[in-house]
């Protein structure tokens, strides 16, 4: 047991814990929007498109997070714009952004002279090397999204559920949908640090799907998903440290494990009480 508390003496582990908790809370809010609006696939496109920005930023010697953010926002608003125009099938548009982003990223990484040591950490995440600057950024964005959801909960919910009716009610639907696209894009990019491009989307969907076993109310899914996300990612983090396995994969494994156990429990309960 002392070993458990012993690792808390390391600053890097405390940072990782804080990052896991903050990322889970952020993903709980933004992920509930993603799952409710059924834009999981769009979010996958945004995530992978951001790799293009990472590659380009490496090539130009800039902060990769900045490059990822630019690419993510551009593809998020691009997909939303194409979807509203309706002239290209939305899923085709997503596939284009998805693979083009990855291709651009690979090309630029290839052209960058020398070895790019952190590249793997963007693909698979490295929560154990999160620094204080990144933590403050994460905290600030978490607070921003929290306030946004608290103040504008109604228009966000209504424009996601029924854009036409919301327009009749005088809600600036396009503004809210574009704003939320940008929020989704930034939330994903900020979370890439913890679990990596390949796995990040599960952080935004598995806790929500698990929470929806118990409630189907947007406002109640968020706290429950946050709780489940924190539990799953802390378990993953400890497992990653003690078993010496990659943190991102461990977190996703625990989140999915949690879902399967609770799903089984709910199904069993239904069978018994029927």
């Amino acid at each position: 047991m002392s070993e458990w508390f012993g690792i808390l003496e390391y600053a890097f582990f405390r940072n990782a814990l804080a990052a896991a908790i903050l990322t889970s809370i952020l993903a709980a809010m933004v992920g509930t929007y993603i799952v409710s609006r059924k834009i999981v696939f769009i979010s996958g496109g945004i995530t992978h498109a951001s790799f293009g920005g990472i590659g380009m930023a490496y090539f130009m010697g800039l902060n990769p997070l900045l490059g990822a953010a630019v690419f993510a926002i551009a593809s998020a608003t691009g997909i939303e714009w194409i979807a509203q125009k309706g002239k290209v099938r939305e899923d085709s548009a997503i596939a284009i952004f998805w693979s083009l982003g990855m291709a651009v990223g690979i090309i630029f990484v290839f052209m960058t002279p020398g070895y790019t040591p952190n590249l793997m950490s963007f693909l698979f995440g490295s929560i154990l090397s999160v620094g204080m600057t990144e933590l403050y950024l994460l905290l600030a964005f978490c607070v921003f999204v929290g306030l946004l959801f608290w103040i504008y909960f109604r228009p966000i919910l209504h424009s996601a559920f029924d854009p036409e009716f919301s327009q009749i009610m005088g809600i600036p639907v396009a503004l809210f949908r574009y704003t939320m696209s940008v929020v989704v894009a930034l939330a994903i990019v900020i979370s890439i640090r913890s679990v990596g491009i390949i796995l990040v989307l599960s952080l935004f969907t598995i806790p929500q799907i698990t929470a929806m076993l118990f409630t189907r109310s947007f406002s109640r899914i968020i706290p429950l998903a946050a709780l489940l996300g924190v539990l799953g990612s802390l378990s993953g983090l400890f497992a990653s440290y003690f078993l010496d396995i990659p943190s991102g994969a461990a977190i996703i494994f625990f989140l999915t494990f949690q879902y399967l156990v609770l799903k089984g429990w709910v199904e069993l309960k239904n069978m018994i009480y029927r």
Binding site: T32, S36, K38, I151, Y152, F153, R154, P155, L157, H158, A160, F161, D162, E164, F165, S166, Q167, I168, M169, G170, M212, T215, R216, S217, F218, S219, I221
Partner: protein, 247 residues
């Protein structure tokens, strides 16, 4: 001279370059109860979206002689994402406009209004249920609450009698009769047989619009209007409509 709430002048519209309805003229007055009929794809829903300001026009005008009235809208239930995690209370509350647009939370009085509305409609016991768990009739009831909670001057209902049982349908019509004392109603239906006894006039939409200033409509009239309504193919329904009306 009565003043129209809404006046459509030579309205044409559609999607991309395809025209769905053309040269439509229609005046809607404050106590109207218009049954909007016509075949599928004839442009009924599109025309309702024109009135609601959701559909851009190719040409023509939509005028509001006495200023833009509040409008309530019940969309086709098949267009609604029933798996969306929203509760009945949240749904009904979404029909109210928050007093402060920079902090759009409902006032205490508005929250009471939501409770009253749920009570009146007899769905208080469903208020914290997600819409995905409701039956067809319960769902229509909740969406009707959302449409009327703001006390609109014009209520637009798109196929409110689908996915419901006969009992609810009768109740719905009684409800609409009372609402019609306070607001104009546009009732879209492909089922002329059931709606015609209760509406005051009929508009037939099939690419264009023909207005019939009474609720008695015969097969001959429909033929003249070039308005093939689904149900006519199944038998002499218009005659039965007349009989019901005489009763």
């Amino acid at each position: 001279m009565r003043e129209a709430l809404i006046s459509l002048k030579e309205v044409s519209t559609g999607y991309f370059s395809e025209t769905i309805v053309r040269d439509v003229n229609l005046d809607i007055f404050p106590s109207d109860f218009i049954g909007v009929i016509g075949p599928n794809g004839g442009g009924k829903t599109t025309l309702m979206k024109v009135i609601l300001g959701l559909q851009p026009l190719f040409k023509g005008q939509v005028l509001f002689p006495a200023g833009k009235p509040l409008m309530g809208y019940l969309p086709q239930i098949s267009q609604v994402d029933k798996s969306f995690p929203i509760t009945v209370r949240e749904l009904v509350a979404s029909g109210l406009k928050a007093p402060n647009r920079w902090f759009p939370h409902l006032s205490k009085a508005q929250k009471r209004t939501v409770n009253q509305m749920l009570d009146e409609a007899g769905i208080s016991w469903l208020s914290s249920k997600p819409i995905g768990e409701l039956s067809g009739g319960q769902l229509q009831r909740a969406f009707l609450c959302r449409a009327i909670i703001n006390q609109p001057r014009l209520l637009i209902l798109d196929e409110p009698n689908t996915f419901v049982d006969k009992g609810f349908e009768q109740e719905l019509y009684r409800w609409l009769k009372v609402l019609n004392e306070k607001m104009a109603i546009l009732l879209v239906s492909h089922d002329i047989g059931t709606i015609s006894p209760m509406v005051k006039s009929i508009a037939c939409v099939n690419g264009n619009l023909h207005y019939h200033p009474s609720n008695q409509i015969t097969e001959d009239i429909l033929k003249v209007y070039n308005c093939p309504v689904d149900i006519i193919a199944h038998g002499p329904v218009p005659h039965r409509v007349l009989k019901e009306h005489d009763r």
